[in-house]
Amino acid sequence: MVPISYYLILAAALFCLGMFGVLIRRNALVVFMCVELMLNAANLTFLAFAKQNGHLTGHVSAFFVIAVAAAEASIGLAIVIAVFRSRGTVSIEEIRTMKH
């Protein structure tokens, strides 16, 4: 059997990957995918701990997170489309009209 710690390390790696992706990547859709990666890393962590503890809370949590992620994806893609319609690009560098 694969030890729990392997799952946790994989989840932590995915989470970090997603986090750096959000901070570094310039394409809105890729940034969006990175956010999903972070949510799924949290899911994997929940499941790994649920398996370790042997109760259902973690499994149920994962389902809730999947449902929420789907809702978030729909609103996120709608916003990306709105941005594309008003500017013709989804590059984050060009989405910057407000001055600081």
Binding site: F32, M38, N53, A82
Partner: protein, 520 residues
Amino acid sequence: MNLPNLTSADFLPLLPAIILVVGACILLLSEVFLSAHSSRGYQAVLSTATSVIAGAVSLTLLTEPARAVFLGFGAMDPFSSFLTFTVCVSLALASLTAAGFLRKRGAERGEFYALMLFAGAGMSLLGLSNELITLFVNVEVLSIATYALTSYLRRGTRPSEAGFKYFILGAFSSAVLLYGSALLYGATGTTLLSDMSGPLRAAMANNNGALVYAGAVLVAAGFSFKVAAVPFHMWTPDVYEGAPTPVTALMSAGVKAAAFVALVRVFISVGSGIDAQLPFAIFSTLALLTMVAGNLLAIPQRNVKRMLAYSSIAHAGYLLLGVAALFVSAPGQEFKLLGPTALIGASPEDVARVDALRGILYYLLAYTFTAVGAFGVVSLLERREDEEKGTAWDLERFSGLAQRRPGWAFAMAAFMLSLAGIPPTIGFIGKLILFRAAVDAGLVGLTIIAVLSSAAGAYYYLRVVVYMYMRPVPEGAHTLERSWMTELALVVSTVAVVLLGILPGPLTEWIAQAGTLFTR
């Protein structure tokens, strides 16, 4: 199959949220029967009425005893009922503001108000949440509705840009919050906050401290994004500027209040399991940075909407000072929970803690009245035509306002004084209660910094007053359209700001009930 045995007492605290959701569904359905040219003025009235009814119900819940509901997944206490009331106040005022705002732009739609009410229901439920996944789901309910509201106006580039930034950073912070919750679940084996303190102590004893600390820090970081604490504030000015003004009002008041209440609830539980030093260190540092940076960054702003965004960051800093005061404890001393019990015979630390809790609640309500009112005046002055040029919210707009619209100018002056914390306004009383609680808790140094930075803040608030009362009306100023609904919101918030500044007694007595928090 084992079904949980739920009684009507479990559903009682959900009543305000249920009312808000029903109102939202009616508003959504009303769109089915309306053509593009039908009159939609009543939608704002309906939305306001729904919020007022929900707010009245939450007031009656304030006297209910604190207890766990839904098998411990929710906590019904005066704390959450008071939050619901604050949220309903911000919803009602923001709906009234939206009526004038949307009519001016020809963008009146039922879904705008419906989304506001859905967000409000999410905020109310977030205050009740006493379990990590429930908490996450409610954070998302309110956030997703707010993302949609932010990019609601489709003309122009700003709303979609603001919506995009808000969405990316909001989703990012939710993911951080969730990952932190997953780690806390791993360390304790439970997601119920009220069951957490024992397993947390066991985890600390079994050398699982790293997991607990990482989880707590990530959860704190996730919340810091939501309440716009420095250094997690980068999104705030752009989003607040680009969002439709009534939505900005709702974000600065309701969303922030709900996030603060959830944050307090999580960390009271987490802090009781681990040493309270960790949350204290986190929140006092955040408070220091947020107060100072928020005020300093607001000073050079000539764009009033953006200035109010930085001011909202600064106010989050004062609230974080109150949160830090909750976690003051001597090293090694066990952090005691604030039970729903009476405070007779309680230690001075406990009394200071309850005072800090009350201070936070009072301040949230004070800020709600003031900020929503200030954004209401901003929404009356702006025009869509100037938005792309970026002059819609320029300070020049306020020149000579006292001669053109004395009522608006008086209201704005009251809001600015309240934000600056000058008597006789509700903002002054709020700061007084909060800062006194912080001093009682022993945070003298931080409180001095808070007072000094709010004195610096007076500069940019009073500058608006100076422009309104001491500058001539600029040549070729466009006519100012009136809207009775927005003006009604201004009247209500001005009366609240001034009256509760002169006579704070009734409200403080009433909040004395709300300062108790369900913990076990």
